[in-house]
């Protein structure tokens, strides 16, 4: 009985999170968004507008996370951000360009950019070269992506997805051309590298908050609330577990 319950616990957590997400999405539909200040995401919002005004391009790098494994979450978060960026920059002379190190992710990035163009009613300007697969190994991907910032009049490099230490190559290329960077990774090595290379850091789950800060919709705002609720539950479980263990040893 206990073993069965333990096996179903993850499903129960998923169902609980799903219900919470639905309820909070409906609840937040008419209430204004209140978000804490994350400097990197505030800057991301600002560079979106600036890139259109100064006729420069944004380079969104989605990393090399495969959607067939656990790294897909960060890739999906990157795609959600790309969708908004593509829509807002599609009318620019220099629309955003996305790079990825996974073939499936590359296909989805093209689809996402195209959806952004459709939403802005400028689908005729869409080019499939806006979503690129720059390499299929981490280093190969970085080697291909680092040249985009250098050669294509990029004003800001945005890295959201799964990156390891190879993120330093892209960051270094951006830095040589004085191109500001905003970056977040679900990988600890990648996070350390991006922390050292960016002006404002995005740590841990802040990667998944980009959509909410760029105005992706109520569901993204609700996601943040669900994450907060679940985080407090995890904290309570950890502290409670430690207390029970401590009391048990007395």
């Amino acid at each position: 009985m206990i073993a069965q319950f333990a096996q179903l616990t993850p499903l129960l957590i998923i169902v609980f999170a799903a219900l919470l997400l639905l309820v909070i999405t409906l609840w937040k539909r008419n209430s204004p968004a209140r978000l804490r200040d994350i400097p990197a995401l505030t800057r991301l919002y600002r560079v979106l507008g600036l890139s259109i005004e100064d006729g420069s391009r944004l380079h969104i790098s989605l990393g090399h996370g495969s959607l067939l494994d656990a790294r897909g979450g960060s890739a999906l978060a990157g795609l959600a951000t790309l969708r908004i960026v593509a829509e807002k920059t599609s009318v620019s002379d220099m629309p955003a360009v996305a790079s990825s190190g996974d073939a499936v992710l590359g296909l989805l990035s093209q689809d996402t950019v195209q959806a952004g163009y459709q939403a802005a009613s400028v689908e005729e300007f869409y080019s499939h070269t806006a979503g690129r697969v720059t390499g299929l190994t981490p280093i190969g991907f970085a080697a291909g992506a680092m040249h985009i910032s250098r050669n294509e009049k990029v004003s800001t490099t945005i890295m959201l997805g799964h990156f390891g230490a190879e993120a330093a190559l892209i960051a270094d290329a951006s830095d040589r051309d004085s191109i500001p960077m905003i970056g977040a990774s679900d990988n600890l090595s990648g996070q350390a590298v991006l922390f050292a290379n960016t002006q404002d850091e995005l740590i841990g789950e802040e990667l998944f908050a980009a959509g909410a800060y760029l105005g992706a919709g109520t569901a993204h705002l609700a996601s943040l609330t669900v994450q907060d609720v679940l985080r407090w539950l995890v904290i309570a479980a950890l502290v409670g577990g430690a207390a029970i263990k401590f009391l048990g040893t007395i």
Partner: protein, 203 residues
């Protein structure tokens, strides 16, 4: 069309999720995952075609770095042609792999080491806040504590401070970050499962 793709994506996601918890759904989950692997293989071919068209465009427009694009396309075409003709196990193909591809990636790994070191030096110029200082001091302590030195471990740093920092502070912090990432992944996955985020087209 978009409704149909959304229905297919959501149904597939739910069936694969159920496969993890209920035995009855396990064969369907395996079947769907096998299909996904085959489709991912096809996507690699599409990705290579995309790489080819991007670099062909660069050459045609005479963009900066067009020479490198030409080299990439020649390399790509030659590898594909000889790979199909000779098979990947052939000694010449192995020589190409071991003599060109592996050393090139190794060289990039070497550059990566320098880039990381340079990033650490630049860190204080970029951010002179408390977090930046803590980051650098921690990295320096762990580096000194882990370095192989002719006289063995540095007293206290190697034997006491490094294990204390890496196994208590760093491990605790890493777990906290990973829990946050897991929660973010969960809510992102749910949004896709509900069809709120549709990376497969439209929103």
């Amino acid at each position: 069309m978009r409704v149909i793709t959304a229905v297919i994506a959501i149904a597939t996601g739910v069936l694969i999720l159920f496969g993890y918890f209920f035995e009855a759904f396990a064969p369907i989950q395996t079947l769907l995952l096998n299909w996904a692997v085959i489709l991912a293989g096809v996507a690699v071919l599409v990705g290579i075609f995309n790489l080819f068209t991007v670099h062909m465009d660069k050459i045609r427009r005479g963009e900066k770095g067009g020479v490198y694009s030409a080299l990439l396309i020649i390399g790509l075409a030659a590898t594909l042609f000889f790979g199909i003709l000779l098979r990947p196990q052939h000694s010449i193909m192995q020589m190409v792999l071991n003599g060109i591809i592996v050393p090139t990636e190794a060289a990039l790994m070497g550059i990566l080491t320098i880039s990381l070191l340079y990033a650490a030096i630049r860190l204080l110029r970029r951010r002179t806040d408390l977090m930046g200082v803590i980051f650098l001091i921690t990295a320096a302590l762990l580096f000194l504590g882990s370095a192989t030195l002719p006289f063995g471990d540095i007293p206290i740093v190697g034997t006491l401070i490094r294990p204390w920092v890496s196994q208590i502070w760093a491990l605790g912090g890493a777990r906290g970050i990973l829990i946050g990432v897991a929660l973010g992944t969960l809510t992102t996955g749910l949004r896709v499962l509900f069809g709120i985020d549709r990376p497969y087209g439209g929103q």
